[in-house]
């Protein structure tokens, strides 16, 4: 983008601009997703209207809620480990924001184009388990501890199908770099037909389904929300958190949803790129790209929320059984099949 504006910026200036733009984009997307789905779409599913008073059609509701949380007292329990307790939400939020670093939103619009981008995303996203375990332990509360342990068990169990589902894409694209995966989908063709490129959601449909299910579990959204099961564990590891620290958990929950949706749309839906055969110039993609990936990500987050508010919670053992006995074998079979096809064709 810099050469288009005919600017010659130093590395640190570029970095600051990228980080600021990234933060704004992430927070805007997160807020939009919360309003669009958590406030409105879910209300419509239940024949309600959702918030209507703050701003036109309740569009300023999230700001009002943030203001409310900021005012609240920052409570520590008597036996809590104050340092760890305070640090835990920061770690969860950091893990979320770090995920956005490598997600490309255009030919140049990426904060750091790592060679092993997808590997980095999956590694960084599992960092949040550490924060959640810290929260559960440092709260000095049995519900928080049980929630933290459940979260750890669940996140580790579903990390595997998540990674294995991605492997199929990586084999097919032949790269761990997200830009190259996007390019491979944009320029690729399926069985000689290149009209819509080769979005891997078609060739890797099993991988896509496994990825989406695993993402649902990684986000601890409802069919898989045992860690914060409100009817059993009050609020799990979040139970002792108030005010701004709870707000941080809230933001990171939905920002992670956006991040995983963006990763999924990069891996399976073609990312920021439109099919190369459509012949849109690279300069135009600087502006269209961010809109394309934002649309795809928002729609995918919609699927997550749709599922979240349609189904009741699994039992803990059903959750583990689904991961280990269904998803992981399926993902392994998918990898084997993909590898065979890659070699044969």
């Amino acid at each position: 983008m810099t050469h288009m504006l005919a600017l010659d910026l130093a590395y640190w200036q570029q970095t600051i601009i990228r980080v600021l733009l990234g933060l704004v984009a992430v927070l805007l997307l997160t807020g939009g997703v919360v309003y669009l789905y958590l406030f409105k779409f879910v209300s419509f599913m239940q024949s309600r209207l959702g918030p209507m008073e703050a701003g036109p059609y309740g569009s300023m509701q999230l700001l009002a809620e943030v203001g409310k949380w900021l005012q609240k007292e920052d409570v520590f329990t008597e036996n809590s480990d104050r340092l760890i307790f305070g640090l835990a939400p920061a770690i969860v939020l950091t893990s979320t924001f770090l995920m956005f670093v490598v997600i490309p939103a255009g030919p140049n619009a990426v904060i750091a184009d790592l060679g092993t981008g997808i590997y980095y995303v999956l590694a960084v996203s599992s960092l949040s388990v550490v924060g959640i375990l810290m929260a559960g332990w440092a709260s000095a509360n049995k519900y928080a501890l049980m929630g933290g342990l459940r979260a750890a068990g669940q996140l580790i169990a579903y990390e595997l199908p998540l990674v294995l589902a991605v492997v199929g894409v990586v084999i097919q694209a032949g790269s761990l770099n997200l830009q190259q995966i996007v390019a491979a989908q944009s320029t690729g063709e399926m069985f000689g037909f290149g009209g819509i490129g080769s979005p891997y959601v078609i060739t890797q449909f099993i991988g896509f389904m496994i990825f989406i299910i695993a993402v649902q579990a990684e986000l601890t959204q409802t069919p898989f929300d045992m860690p914060i099961a409100e009817s059993e564990l009050v609020a799990g590891y979040q139970v002792e958190y108030t005010g701004i620290r709870f707000l941080v958990y809230f933001i990171s929950e939905f920002a992670t949803a956006v991040a995983f949706a963006a990763v999924a749309s990069t891996l399976f839906l073609g990312g920021w790129a439109l099919p190369a055969s459509w012949g849109i110039s690279r300069d135009a993609m600087h502006w269209i790209g961010p809109l394309v990936i934002a649309t795809k990500a928002v729609l995918l987050v919609g699927v997550v929320f749709w599922v979240r508010f349609s189904f009741p919670r699994f039992r803990e053992d059903q959750l583990q059984r689904l991961a280990w006995k269904v998803l992981i074998p399926l993902a392994l079979a998918n990898i084997a099949l993909t590898a065979v096809f890659k070699v044969v064709f």
């Binding site: 419509f44 024949s47 209207l49 209507m52 749709w306 059984r321």
Partner: protein
């Protein structure tokens, strides 16, 4: 273990999505494409539009003072003792000329404390003289809690809002009660 029932799960997704669509696009014909959730949702945006109470809604208990004999049945049956009755004896003129004047109770005080009332309706059920009735009015919140103590004058005003009893379902042998007006 019965595996996850995939068709049922898809159907569930369809149900929630269908409800969302019906809420968002309630109109028919060419106007279907214009979202109008305010029409499709069941929500009543209360201060802007007022709710229409359902039949036999339990809004507030009203008093028909003429019929009250201060028998205290309601006050004694009330589970949380929120009815206060005080009365004194007076002489009413005889029914027929030349008869003896009748001793009757005259109400001095009939208060219902709506900060205590739990809207069980036992007082209405138990009253043998048709003095207590449900009214569907619900807008009587107060800034101060002591203002929720409604005296007999206020309860009498509520009586003016009592609707007629609805007809029972077809084939019922019980006669519909009449509100004494």
């Amino acid at each position: 273990m019965a595996g996850p029932h995939v068709p049922g799960m898809l159907k569930g997704l369809g149900v929630t999505f269908g409800t969302a669509m019906r809420t968002m696009f309630p109109r028919r014909g060419i106007k279907t494409i214009i979202p109008a959730p305010s029409k499709g949702a069941l929500t009543v945006q209360y201060p802007r539009e007022s709710d229409v109470p359902t039949p036999r809604a339990r809004g507030v208990i009203s008093l028909n003072e003429e019929n009250c004999t201060s028998c205290m049945l309601c006050a004694r049956e009330c589970p949380d003792w929120c009815i206060y009755i005080e009365a004194h004896k007076t002489l009413a003129p005889p029914r027929r000329a030349g008869g003896k004047p009748r001793a009757v109770n005259s109400l001095d005080r009939f208060d219902i404390d709506y900060s205590l009332c739990m809207y069980c309706g036992i007082c209405v059920e138990v009253c043998p003289f048709e003095a207590l009735f449900w009214s569907p009015e619900y807008e009587y919140s107060e800034i101060r809690i002591q203002d929720l103590l409604h005296d007999k004058q206020r309860l009498g005003q509520w009586f003016e809002t009592v609707p007629d009893f609805e007809a029972y379902e077809a084939g019922s042998e019980a006669k519909v009660k009449k509100v004494p007006r």
